[in-house]
Amino acid sequence: MPERTPSQTVGPYLHIGLSQGFFGAREIFSAHLADAGLAGSHIRIEGRVYDGEGNVVPDAILEIWQADGQGRYAHPADGRPLASNSFRGFGRCPTNKEGAFAFETVKPGSVPGPTGAAQAPHINVGLFSRGLLKRLFTRIYFEGDPANPADPILALVPADRRGTLLAKADPDKPGLFRFDLYLQGANETVFFDA
């Protein structure tokens, strides 16, 4: 049997291949996942990425993967019909000089969990950057969502670290959520191994 090809870092020039917009009108990835007419609660998620010295990370790229507003994935392993073919569930956003990123999407619905129990609304996040030899995987949950307490994945996270996975609603701007990532330190984001 063939053996896995090892991961390597994206390096500092990742934008050439992953986000330069070189393909212009034919660019297939963006940070805008949802057409205006798509059913669901339209949201914007903003955040920054910080390294272990508290500096922003200006050469990272985030990829998000999520279900639609009804909790359905645009993928054959889901199999349930989608409300709209326009929703592909995947977005990509490089961090800027301030280490900041932003996605515009719909809040995902609950999705089936490992034992049949539903998972709370969440977005899978893959993070690549210079200095990361392989992808980091975390999830964005939504602070205050009534489904969080019963979520089987959150339950695996020590209670004092769950907060790192919660996007916080901006009290002044409806639909705006804040989610920062800390690669190290007291607030180190919870990263997963699946």
């Binding site: 090809t5 500092p12 291949g17 990370v57 889901d78 999705v111 899978n124 200095g131 030899l133 089987p152």
Partner: protein, 235 residues
């Protein structure tokens, strides 16, 4: 729920912290990863295919009015999973520096010339048997500031999706016999010598185009699904 994707093959990957690759010191997480089951959110993943790319986007030598300088190469191979099954209809993205070792990127200040006829980005989608093929020029080696007199061996970055969130892979393809291998902390971040070899392409005389380009073959192996029995034709 049992895992759909094997975890054993992940030991081929480097650890997050490799102290002689300085960039990892402030970016490698310090707490252990939290082990989670593979749910519907992980065994699904983005689907991008043939309708998303144009055939000419796989030729990095045809993106400008003239051809780039350097040694023209064909890079081709198969994308497989750990079960030996081809990964069909899957997006492959690549990026690289030019023949002089310079990236077309604002951060790259290496004193080597940019090539007005070379951008260094390409993409294609694997065919039904998992085959992919690019035309490019051989990238140069280049210095970086990780340690005194640090040079990266020539390489091409590759980004692959496969069928799920868990099969995503970004790697680098190196060229046979590079004298810089023993000195490169990124290449050597992969702990197992056999696994490092799997990042080196092989010269493929049969695939060369006489009077036109040399060819290199590079197979890429993604995490394998255990959901379907092995097909003996591909075992």
């Amino acid at each position: 729920m049992d895992d759909v994707y094997s975890r054993a093959g992940n030991r081929a990957d480097p650890p997050y912290l490799v102290s002689n690759y300085v960039g990892t010191r402030t970016r490698a997480p310090q707490r252990p990863l939290i082990l989670i089951p593979q749910t519907l959110s992980e065994i699904t993943g983005p689907v991008y295919g043939h309708s998303d790319v144009l055939p000419e986007e796989a030729d990095l030598t045809k993106q400008h009015p003239s051809e780039p300088l350097g040694e023209r190469i064909i890079v081709k191979g198969r994308v497989l999973d750990e079960g030996g099954r081809p990964v069909p209809d899957s997006l492959v993205e690549i990026w690289q520096c030019n023949a002089a070792g310079r990236y077309r990127h604002v951060v790259d200040q290496h004193e080597a010339p940019l090539d007005p006829n070379f951008t260094g980005a390409g993409r294609c989608v694997t065919d039904a048997e998992g085959n992919y093929r690019f035309v490019s020029i051989k990238p140069g080696a280049y210095p970086w500031r990780n340690h005194p007199n640090a040079w990266r061996p020539a390489h091409i970055h590759l980004s692959l999706f496969g069928p799920s969130f868990l099969t995503r892979l970004v790697t680098q393809m190196y060229f046979p016999g590079d004298p810089l291998f023993p000195f490169d902390p990124i290449f050597n971040s992969v702990p197992d010598a056999g696994a490092r070899e799997r990042m080196i392409c092989r010269f493929d005389l049969e695939a060369t185009r006489p009077e036109w380009a040399l060819a290199y073959h590079f197979d890429i192996v993604l995490r394998g699904s255990r959901a379907t029995p092995l097909d003996p034709d591909h075992a």
